[in-house]
């Protein structure tokens, strides 16, 4: 139906597009360590060598009953349900920071089980509901 030129142009531009996708994929794949915003406690356990002078972000869930607050310090445990890491932080915590909710802590590792955080971010999950519905779900 279409002329030879049109077909040729279609092939050419499709080819460019495919090559571009491949390139982007490979670039992102090789940069994966930098693309992820945080790593999980399990991944820290599996790290080969730890750079104690490099800032890292650890994300996961705040373990139930693990938060202890004193006048200007918060200590809690981040868990991904497989491994855990202790976090110590002094400063302002976001409003949505609470137990059994997502959290990202940024700071320096002391060792594989301890992070000295300089910043805490609360992670919000994809669920949105009114308070009554939340209550109803809890009762179940």
């Amino acid at each position: 139906m279409y002329g030879k030129k049109v077909k040729l142009r279609f092939l050419f531009i499709s080819l460019i597009f495919v090559v571009l996708i491949l390139t982007t994929f490979l670039v992102l794949k090789s940069l994966e360590d930098n693309v992820v915003y945080f790593i999980s406690p399990s991944e820290i356990k599996e790290l080969g060598e730890i750079d104690y002078n490099k800032k890292i972000r650890v994300g996961g869930m705040v373990k139930k009953n693990s938060v202890s607050m004193s006048s200007n310090q918060v200590i809690f445990i981040i868990t991904d349900l497989k491994s855990e890491i202790n976090v110590e932080f002094s400063g302002v915590i976001p409003n949505l920071f609470s137990e059994e909710k997502g959290v990202v802590a940024e700071g320096f590792l002391k060792d594989r089980n301890f992070l000295n955080a300089s910043k805490i971010l609360a992670k919000h999950d994809e669920n949105y509901m009114p308070p009554e519905v939340k209550e109803a779900l809890k009762d179940k």
């Binding site: 915003y37 999980s40 949505l96 971010l121 992670k123 009114p130």
Partner: protein, 235 residues
Amino acid sequence: MFNYLNPYKIFKINSTLQRIIFFCFIVVLSIGLIEALFLSPEDYLQKDSVRIMYVHVPAAWISLGIFSSIALLSFSVFIFKNKNLIMVSKSLAPSGILFTLIALVTGSIWGKPTWGTWWAWDARITSMLILFIFYILYLLSFRIFKDRERVNKISSLIAIFGAINIPIIKFSVDWWNTLHQPASISLTAKSAIHSSMLIPLIIMTAAFALFSVLIFLMKYNTELIKIKNKGLKRL
């Protein structure tokens, strides 16, 4: 059939359509805002800041949708060398860039009370910023290059390059750890947004879609006037 493709006719139909769509937009937006700001409940966790979502999410959806259309049209421009398609995609871009900016700004305003930061270099937010840059490049290409043949080629190429970013934005939250939450609504699974909050979200999406159609029609008519001023009988 070809009578309808006459620029003069299109211009007239367009002008009438604009009035109808403007009216619809005002009505839908009013209903949407009342639903979103007053009638919908607050979130159990975010309290009132959940209302930012009713602007943020529709704006993000529409900015992605518009860029996808521009990319698809540009792809066809390359193949069929149709000058009308380039005018259509050029007219789509302004509302696209506006909604990208709205999504970025409202996301930032929501991020401060929720996450505790205005900005994070996570994959979703960064790829959205890249989308904004692509929109700027796309619109700039029409200003920088004057030669028509050249403009068509370069702007289409920018759109096709930028198209790769679209699935990255969409799936960034599934592929990598991000601060941004994963999608709440999908075609297959049950919505993670409660229905009382889903209704204003859908109405606001309709309002924003109407707005972008309106801006598109206005831009398209401007392009038609430009053609007339150049003294071209047809495209």
